[in-house]
Every structure is written in structure tokens, then in C-alpha cells.
Amino acid sequence: MEKSIKLNLPPISLLDLPESTLDFILKCLSPMDLCRMSKVCVLLKGKCESDEFWENHIKEKWGRVIGDAVYKEWEWHIAIAKDGVLLNNQHTNQTGSMGSFSGVWPNLCLGSYLEHFKLLNGKNSNNFMMSLYFSLETGSFWFPAQVYKELVIYNALVKYDSQSNTFQARYQNRDWGFLGRNIEWDMVRAPAVDTPPYVVHVSHCSHNLKPEDHVEIQWRPDTQSPYDWWYAVIGHLDSCNQNCCRCHYSDTLIVEFRQYPEESDSRRIKLCRKKNEEQSDQIEGYYGGIRKLENEDEIETWKRLFPLQIQFQDDMEDFDDVGSLEDSVESFHSHDDMEHFGDVDSLDDNVESFLSQDDGDGTNPSEHHTDASQGFTFGEVGSMRNSNSKVVCCHFSSDGKLLASAGNDKKVVVWNMETLQTESTAEEHSLTVTDVRFRPNSTQLATSSSDSTVRLWDAADPLFSLQVHIGHTSHVASLDFHPTKNDLFCSCDDINEIRFWNINQYSSIQGFKGGSTQVRFQPRVGHLLAAASGSFVSLFDVETCMQMHTFQGHSAEVHFVCWDPNGDYLASVSEECVKVWSIASGECIHELNCNGEAFRSCVFHPIYSTLLVIGAYQSLELWNMVENKIMTIPAHECVISALAQSPVTGMIASASHDKSVKIWK
């Protein structure tokens, strides 16, 4: 009986059910299923594409990273699509669509960018939420969001990569350069306020701020840049008796950046509490509005994301024993005297013994004499061609016994100066090795590579790298070890990012902008870091990472920088000229223009401090800076890409694109 009744029942169609039943089921479906359901029939298509069902999916997946600004930008793109402006414009091959602009020329900010405008073809522009979801999911839409990086949150345009489930970010400043790739969800947030990047945020909270309040404060290095937000904590006035604190009644507001050590000038800044406008101390930059972090979650996020940076001061505290800059300037003046280097003879003996080894292999001694200085000789004492392609960097170990060179071969060749034997490291880098540096007083060395990694090796056991440091988002161009604090090293990549690393930690401990070609710590004291970027060379305070000075004067890109052994002078090389700068005065004190082939590299002579050795195309130029005399020595068959010297042995090494490395003395 029952069976017959069952047979008589017409097949149940979902569409016969009340609409609420259908809606309920559709609400349970994933975006992918909704898409598929929209292909079932006309009625379901209408339903499955409607905002009602997509709004939740957008909130669920993207809610953390998109804010009102994204919806406004999307309205903009939809409006353009509906007008058909781009689609009808036959004169351009433009496939993307610009979002809105804010600000006043030339400080304009692009609100968003849609890479594939075709996404909004046809009726998709009627489905606001669904098309937004797709543009986000497929990574076509660069939307405005904020990206945490170190203790700063940047205003950026961000797009999603579904393959890796991470984001890419571009920074509004610096011609839309990459701020980073493979950025995790945690590191992206919807803008906390809707203040555009060039506008001072109007602080409603500043009169209520009291010590230990957590804040984010707008900061920019100059008035042409957009603001970013820095995490800070409100501090006590110098005069405050903390038992009876009345700091919150004062017109002066102390803002503390606790990633800097207690004694650093950058740690505490004073702002006027009542000013609702940009405030500047001329040195550190420009401060805009303040946003108090009312929400415990926000504070916890900062602490969770950057525990290391917030504790940075503890790591750096024993950094203060490096001596003052003035001391080193004084000692330079005594070194300036040539008499000081009386023991040249003993070094010559060393060369004798070196030459007497006569290993044959590529060693081709030839002597060039120069009248630059009395009794001075300079000549090739050794040559090695162990590479199959361009050599771009070289460096001596502290004791002068090892010379490392590397380049397009993707490996390091270590040359033992005593035995003249060579050994190669494994080919672990996947792209060119751009720089190689020995750790001070160690056989360990580090390499930077275009493959965006930095690796640590031991020359005594070169078969495997000891460590790989990952963090850079682009080609790493250079690196250097700190001269005294030899757990510390730094590197820079070609998108102008400098990172500090501790050898015992795998993630970088500090990052900032300012160097893209080469980074070199000041020898001896290591108080400063020189970084070349474009035609500028900047000096950073190692302790605070603050830019202390910028040497400007080159008209072309600076390829190479080097310090004199005492750290008082810095030489920089561009194709057209070499400049020598005084650290004490900040001025260019010597300059040599290139009359022949382009300059490429340089190094201070290890013994004669008035001599600078310059690597050019095929030749070495010996330049007596004081007398401004030059001597040209034929050296290589191609560009001399790097030079190194050892004060212990008095040797100079030259690396060239002709695949060889040569030793000079």
C-alpha cells in the first residue's frame, strides 16, 4: 500500500518549496558551489548571483582585510564598467582599470587597480558582491589595505594569490615598488581609519592620552611621502615623578618607540598635545595624527606579530661599547702619516715565500712599478680561473689566509692563500651569488644571492651551507658582517630594503628602506652602515637604523662603496667618477672623474692610505688621492667587478667578469 502511494508522488522539485527553504540551502553553499548552482536554471542563476548570498562569503573570507574603502573602490570600477568607457575605447590596449585618486597633485594616491577589466564584462557588473569576490579570489584586484612590516603598518595596495594563500603588496611611495610577496593573512588588515595616506589623521584622543597607552602614529620621512603608521607607547615626561604622575595634564606628549634602545635619540619624541597638525623635529621626519589602540586585540596583535622587535632593545643593549666616532677620527690623523707603516719589509718577505711556492697553475707574476710613492711596488702575484662564468664579488678572511670569490657560478670558490689550493661550496643558490663576506675572525662566510636568500657557510667544510636566511622578497644584492658584534649581519635587496639579521635567529630582526646596491659596515667600530641606492650613498646609525646622512653628488648609479680601514672615509664608485667622503664633515674631499673606460669598483690600499685602487674595464687605476696622480695597470680581460684587500698580508684581490680572480701586491 505504501509503495503504491510513493509511486503516485510527483518528483519533488526544489523550486516547489517555499523560497525560504531554497534560500536556506543556498546559504549553506560555498562560493564554488554557488557558482555551479547558478548554471542549473534561470531562476537559480538569478538567486545564486545575487548579493544576498555573496555578501556573507565576502565577509567570511575577506572581512579581515577589506574595509569600506574597498567597497567604494569597487563601486568605482563597476560604474566605469556600466558606462562602458574602457570597453568602448578602441584606442587603448588597456586591460586594467584604475581606481579613484585621492590627494592633490603631485601627491596623488591611487585607491585601487583592477588588472583584468574583462571580469566586469556583460552582466557581471550587475552582481556587485559576486564580481568583487571573484576579483579578490583570482588576484585581479589590487585593493587598499594595510600591511604590517616590522613595527610599521604601511598603506599599500594588496592582491591575493590563491595558489599560495598569501598576498602581494605594493607600496604607494617609490613608484609602486613591491612591499613584499608571500605575505601571510596575519600581516594584512583593513585600514583602521579611512584617512587617506597623504592626509593628517585628526586625533580625537590626544588630549586623553596618558603614559602606557598604546598608539599608532602617522609618520613620514619627508613632506612628499605618504604617511605610514608606527606602533608606539605613550611615555612619561623627563620631569615626571612616577609615584604621582601628572603627565597627562601636560601639553607635551612623549611618544616612545620601544624597538629602539633606551639611550637612543630615536626612542622618545616630544609632541605638542594640542596641535592637530603635522609636527616635525626636522631630523627624524614628520609626525601626523595619533590613533589610540582602545582594543586589547589590536595591542595583542602587535605584540604577537613582533615579539622580537618589541624586545629589540634587550638584544642591542651591549651594543654601546663601540666607542665614539670622535675617537676614531683622532686615531686616523696619526695613521695618516706614512711613517707609521714602517714594517713593509716584513710583508715583502711574506710575498717572497708566497711566490716561491710557484704552483704554476695560472700564476703569472708580472710586476708593474709606480712612482706614486717612494719605494712603492705593485704587481700581480697570483691568478686563478676556477669559474665558468662572471665573478662579481670577493673578500678576504680576517687573517688574510682565505680569499672567497663568487658570481654567476652560483657557488663560492675559497682560495687558500698559503697552499694555493681551492675549494668550492655546493651549488645551493639557484641564482647568481651577488656578494660574499667572511664573518670576522672566523672561517665562516655568508653569501647573498639573486634567489632572495642569504646563506651561511663554513669554508672549512663547504659541502653544505650551515644556514639559509629567508626574508627578502627580491634579489639580495649585498651583505656584510658587523666588525665587532659578529652575530650581526645585514643585507639589502634590489627593492631598497635593508635587513639586519642575527646569526642565531632565522628571521631578520630589523628592516628598513635605504639600500639597494651595496651595504658595508664601518670598519673597527661598526657604528655606521653605508648603503648605496641609486646615485646616493646613505649612512645609517646601526643602533637606531636612522638615516644619519646622505652623500649626494654622483650623477649615475653607485656600483661600489668601500671604507678606509679606520672607518673615517668612504669611497663610492659610479661609472663616471669616484668620490671620497669624509665621515666627520660629510663632505666630498677627493674626486676623480673617469676619462677612459667606466669605473666599477674600488678599495683602499691596505698599507698606503693615500692610495685608492680602482677597478675599471680591464684595468686597475692606482690613484694617489693627495697628489691626484693616477697610474693605469692592465689587469683583466673584462670589467673588474669587485676588489678586496687584506691589511694583514697587504694583498689586494680583483674579481672580473673575465671569470678570473687575481692577487696583487
Binding site: 527553504t21 558551489d33 555551479r36
Partner: protein, 182 residues
């Protein structure tokens, strides 16, 4: 009629368990205890296939459509409610699901037809919890299935024109990747 005897037995068997459960709940405090006595009380329901079934009041209470009658009428054992849209088979399934406290494992044992019929019944009887439970179960079934499967499952006829169909395939092609076997 054999059918009826069987199901009544099932009800009897479940009864003791049900009572234990209710006693457990009473310790916590059963606030839903309305103005009428419910201990062991049953309501007679007549299904679409003419079967009269005695259903425990705790289950009937979830059926809001009958609940309105119970509230308005002085119920005694002789009162019979017709539920003309629900077959005895489906009512038994519903009872199982309610007693099983909506275990997803139970839903997996149901056929596609049963799922749909329970959904219709839950809608008719106005059983909110059951309705949500079964709608979710249906959403799980159609997850990651092809368009053809969905049409077949819901008894929907494709009413797109050829042009519309072609247009549809061009857009959002990724939604069709990795579809499960029907």
C-alpha cells in the same frame, strides 16, 4: 497494519531511553514544562497513508503546526491529528532523527528522496531544528557536484537557451574544476 505494530514497538523501546534522558534534563531544570502533563503522554497522528501513530509529546512539541492545536485544545488521548502531507515512513524517519538528537551520521543513511521528503515535511510541520538540520544535510550532498547532478537531485529542468549556456561556460570556469563523481 503490520507496519503500524512494528513502529509502535519501536516507539515503546525508545520510550524508556527517552524517559531517562528527560530525567537527566530535569535536574538541570526543564523550563519548557508547559501547563499540561507530558510525562509519558502521547499524541495520535494520522499520516498520509492512513496510519495512526502514537508519538511522544516531546517530539510533537517540535512540530509547531500541531503545537498550536495542543495549546488551544484540551487534549486527551482520544484526540487525533491528521498530517496529510507526511507518510508513515517519513514520520518514522523524523522520530528517529529527533530522538537521535540530529546526528549527522543518521542523515548520511538517508536516501536522496528521503532527504527531500523530510525537508518538505519539516517545512509543513514547521519543525525549525529539523528543517535546518536537513537543509544543511542537503547542502552537504550537493557540495562539489556537477550541474547535471543538481538538476537531477532537485528535479529541475534546464531552461537556458543555447546562447546563454555557451556564455555561462565561459565565465567562472574554475567553479567546474575538480567536481566529484555523481
Amino acid at each position: 497494519m503490520a507496519e503500524r505494530g512494528e513502529s509502535s514497538e519501536a516507539v515503546m523501546l525508545k520510550k524508556t531511553e527517552e524517559e531517562k534522558l528527560r530525567k537527566g534534563k530535569m535536574i538541570v531544570g526543564d523550563e519548557s514544562k508547559a501547563g499540561y502533563e507530558e510525562e509519558g503522554k502521547k499524541v495520535k497522528l494520522v499520516t498520509s497513508d492512513g496510519v495512526t501513530m502514537e508519538v511522544e509529546i516531546s517530539i510533537v512539541k517540535e512540530m509547531e503546526i500541531i503545537q498550536t492545536f495542543i495549546g488551544a485544545t484540551d487534549t486527551d488521548d482520544s484526540f487525533i491529528f491528521p498530517i496529510s502531507n507526511v507518510s508513515s515512513h517519513i514520520l518514522n524517519q523524523i522520530i528517529e532523527l529527533v530522538k537521535g538528537e540530529y546526528d549527522q551520521e543518521l542523515a548520511k543513511k538517508l536516501s536522496h528522496d528521503e532527504l527531500k521528503e523530510i525537508l518538505v515535511a519539516a517545512n509543513y510541520l514547521n519543525m525549525k531544528t529539523l528543517f535546518h538540520f536537513i537543509a544543511t544535510a542537503i547542502a552537504n550532498v550537493i557540495q562539489n557536484k556537477s550541474v547535471e547532478f543538481v538538476r537531477d537531485f532537485f528535479g529541475i529542468v534546464n531552461d537556458f537557451t543555447e546562447e546563454e549556456e555557451a556564455e555561462l561556460r565561459k565565465t567562472n570556469a574554475w567553479a567546474f574544476e575538480g567536481v566529484d563523481e555523481d
